[in-house]
Amino acid sequence: MPYSETSGDRIITSHQRGRVARFRAWVLVGVPFGALIFQAYVPLFYPPLAYLDLALLVTIYFAMMRHSAINGILVGCAMGLAQDALAHNPLGMYGISKTLVGFFAASIGVRIDVSQSFVRLLACVVFYVFHQFLFWLISRALLEKLVAFDWRQTLILSGFNAIVGLALFHFLDKLKDKD
């Protein structure tokens, strides 16, 4: 009989517990930090890479693989606020978006086996669109910025981010703690 835990944060079976990825501390700190650095630095020399939201992909990955909604919320919040701080946005724009993405990604990670590539690809596409939509919504609703939501561009960029995310997730899988 599968073990069930209903703590609110984790609703996982024993089978699912075996899939929870554990990472070393330096990975949990270094990878998000590296993603932020990359996002702030590399587009200086290669502007198309500004469309790559590496912070979002890292948030999705850690949220899904850790199977912890609170972890997802905290990672998303931290990444979003840092991104806001570096992008000189009003603090909370990316923060709220990524917090919600982290929460829902963790929720999906708990319920679905996210080690499959197609699931990851789909998750990246969906969460990218969701993230952009949230950002647009916050801009429009809270900051009263009259910006249009470009669905087509968002979908294209979501595909681009999903492909990169697939490779990134594969790389981050290597950094999992084997124990």
Binding site: T6, S7, G8, D9, F33, L36, I37, A40, Y41, F45, A69, I70, I73, L74, C77, G80, L81, A82, A85, L86, H88, P90, L91, G92, M93, G95, I96, T99, L100, F103, A106, I138, L142, L143
Partner: protein, 403 residues
């Protein structure tokens, strides 16, 4: 209650975090400076990493950039060298073409002014042996070339046709030992026979020693050989030596000095007069400006350069001092001490102006005049000085009496 909180803990955390961020967002919008510290932290944390990344990037990029630059430079160097070599070759080719065009133009001009009939030919081959001086021309019997015709350039004779084929002909150059042609000198009209000397020179035989030939005298064809029309230049006598019976005359053939590639074959020769000798223009009077005036000191130092000069000067001083004229009898006192301020004579028969010594402690200048014959005058001294009269000081010898 606890179980409810546990059950909705994640939702609760989410709500708390989102609400907190909403408040933060509202606050940061209302008061952007209020959240500056968060931005400061973010930037402070990120900046050192970015600096390290930038330093690493610029270093690595610089190394690669320099490497590729050098690689490119090397490739460019190769390309430029190849282009330069190509241009050199093209330049040589064009120069050669230009020279050829010039020569052809000169030949055409010569053909126009000359009464003889010519056909232009090109030297296409040379003899395979080093002993013979034979060339092959690209004109033959098809172009009316026949054996025995003269081969010339506007500068002088080159040789003669020794064999004519339909499309080519062989010519014996003037430097070949087998070659012979009648020549005559321009100035003295001395006739001789031109033979090749084997090397680059020719010699003129059968010129008697009594006949006069100057070095540098120009020789022309005499027309006696019935090959070369009269009046074609042959060359200037380079060496003229007296022999036992005949003169030994060597010359460089003027027709070969430019290394001919295009020549003229004389199809029908017309004799022309030997150009009249024109003596070089007499030496004209050349204006020379006055020499640069020399100062007295320069003249003295320039003149007195050896011990003999200095001894002569000493004796002249002595003679002046003792009023003795050398060569007129008597012997001056060569041991007499001459005062240091006695001026050396400038020129015979001249009088130096007295120097002004007012207010100085230096010895007075001596005004010296050449003494008249038969008189004895003591050297004058200027008054009003602290030094004793120059003539009296140390003078042990009496004033010599002139005979």
């Amino acid at each position: 209650m606890d179980s409810l909180l546990n059950r909705f803990r994640s939702i609760t955390v989410l709500l708390v975090v989102v609400v907190a961020q909403l408040i933060l967002l509202a606050y940061s919008v209302k008061n952007p400076e209020g959240v500056r510290v968060i931005r400061l932290w973010a930037v402070t944390v990120v900046t050192p990493i970015a600096q390290i990344a930038e330093t690493t990037r610029s270093t690595v990029w610089g190394v690669f950039h320099n490497y590729f630059d050098l690689r490119d430079a090397r490739q460019q160097n190769h390309v430029i060298q190849a282009q330069r070599d190509q241009l050199k070759l093209e330049n040589l080719y064009l120069k050669s073409e230009l020279n050829t065009a010039d020569r052809v133009k000169a030949l055409a001009a010569f053909q126009k002014v000359s009464p003889s009939r010519y056909v232009a030919a090109r030297i296409i081959l040379t003899a395979t042996t080093s002993a013979s001086r034979i060339v092959i021309l690209d004109r033959g019997s098809n172009s009316e070339v026949e054996k025995g015709m003269a081969v010339i350039t506007p500068d002088g004779i080159v040789g003669k046709i020794i064999d004519a084929f339909p499309t080519a002909s062989q010519a014996l150059l003037v430097t070949d030992p087998e070659f012979a042609a009648g020549v005559v000198s321009q100035k003295n009209h001395v006739k001789g026979i031109l033979h090749g000397a084997g090397s680059g020179k020719c010699r003129i035989d059968n010129v008697q020693t009594e006949e006069k030939v100057d070095e540098g005298e120009m020789f022309f064809t005499s027309g006696d050989d019935r090959i070369f029309p009269r009046g074609l230049p042959v060359g200037k006598a380079d060496v003229v030596r007296e022999g036992t019976q005949y003169k030994e005359i060597l010359l460089y053939p003027s027709g070969l000095q430019a290394g001919p590639e295009e020549v003229l074959i004389v199809l029908a020769g017309v004799h022309a007069p030997i150009p009249a000798y024109e003596a070089p223009p007499p030496e004209q009077k050349v204006y020379l400006g006055p020499p640069v005036p020399q100062t007295k000191a320069e003249a003295t130092t320039a003149a007195l350069t050896t011990d003999a000069d200095r001894l002569r000067e000493h004796y002249e001083k002595l003679g002046k001092f003792e009023n003795h004229k050398f060569g007129e009898g008597g012997v001056p006192n060569f041991n007499a001490a001459i005062p240091a301020n006695a001026e050396p004579p400038v020129a015979a028969g001249t009088t130096t102006a007295p120097k002004t010594n007012a207010g100085t402690n230096s010895p007075p200048a001596v005004v010296k005049k050449p003494a008249a014959a038969g008189t004895a005058t003591a050297p004058k001294t200027s008054a009003g000085t602290n030094s004793p009269p120059a003539a009296a000081e140390g003078s042990q010898a009496s004033v010599p009496q002139n005979p």
